[in-house]
Amino acid sequence: MSEHVVPLRIYYTVFAALLFLTGLTVFVAFFDLGTLNTIVALTIAVIKATLVVLFFMHVWYSSKLTWVFVGAGIFWFLILIAFLFGDVLTRDWLPTAVGWEGN
């Protein structure tokens, strides 16, 4: 993107970090943390993805416009998730009649 040439050592440190995080996510998967498992797995994946985006894809060194485009893509995906789950999670909440006590 930019004319900026990224020094090689950054690539290698990012590569090492990605390998470590992959190992970590597999390691953590073998513990039963209940719903926490998913959260941890997703957080690690987000960290790995951010590393790839910022350094391998040079977004760290590029114009604000690129940041806006990347941010917009992620934000619109979150809109889909938010409103889809807004419906799915509350689909069973019916306004029960006052004084409901079984049929």
């Binding site: 992959t22 597999v26 797995a41 994946a45 350094f55 391998f56 690129t66 485009f69 799915v88």
Partner: protein, 213 residues
């Protein structure tokens, strides 16, 4: 994006405008890819929330070792691609081609492992549809495998396109087409490749690491 002779396209004022436009164009395309895969991830998330039991049982059928190896292979290919772009920025013709070909090789390894997994699933009768082996109460796992095959299949399709494009760019880099002033196509192909790697970074934990305890 430009004629063989001078790299500057007729409708651009200068090379830097062309470079910025090319990169912005690829980033816009990657935004459409985020939402393309996003629709799948949204469906996957809803069904996994509704049927955690069926998804965990389905995930146990997957081979975690092969998945892990594939993740490492793809991360390595991202590194070689980044080094390839780095080399083309510095005008090193041969190094760029070598790194890009390394990326292609790693991509082919990934596709090979993927093909092995698919044939394994075929023999186990886990391909969703008429021939799905599990019946009765277990049949709901077909939803997991439906998402598994659509998501990894779509990802593999993107890998194949990536392998073809990177091979072409590697060949052109070998012929000295790119220079420190004109390396847009190499970088843009790199962006695409890194995106495909990021999709796998999310696919691996969501599909392979369910309920492993």
């Amino acid at each position: 994006m430009s004629e063989a002779s001078s790299p500057l396209a007729h409708h651009f004022d200068d090379l830097s405008q062309q470079k910025e436009a090319t990169s912005l164009g690829m980033w816009t395309f990657l935004v459409t890819e985020i939402l393309f895969f996003g629709g799948l991830f949204a469906g996957y998330a809803q069904y996994r929330g509704a049927y955690p039991h069926a998804f965990e049982a389905g995930s146990h059928h997957l081979d975690i070792v092969l998945g892990g190896i594939n993740t490492v292979v793809l991360i390595a290919s991202s590194l070689t691609m980044a080094l390839g772009v780095h080399a083309s920025q510095l005008g090193k013709r041969k190094k760029t081609a070598i790194f890009l070909l390394a990326t292609v090789a790693l991509g082919l390894v990934f596709l090979g492992i993927k093909a092995a997994e698919y044939t394994h699933k075929y023999h186990e009768g886990l391909i969703p549809g008429a021939g799905f082996a599990l019946q009765g109460a277990e049949r709901q796992q077909m939803l997991f495998f439906a998402f598994y095959f659509v998501m990894t299949g779509l990802h593999a399709a993107h890998m194949i396109i990536g392998v073809v494009v990177v091979t072409i760019i590697a060949f052109q880099a070998w012929r000295g087409r790119y220079s420190p002033a004109y390396y847009g196509p190499v970088e843009v192909t790199g962006l695409y490749w890194h995106f495909v790697d990021i999709v796998w970074i999310f696919l691996f934990p969501l599909l392979y690491l369910l309920g492993r305890h």
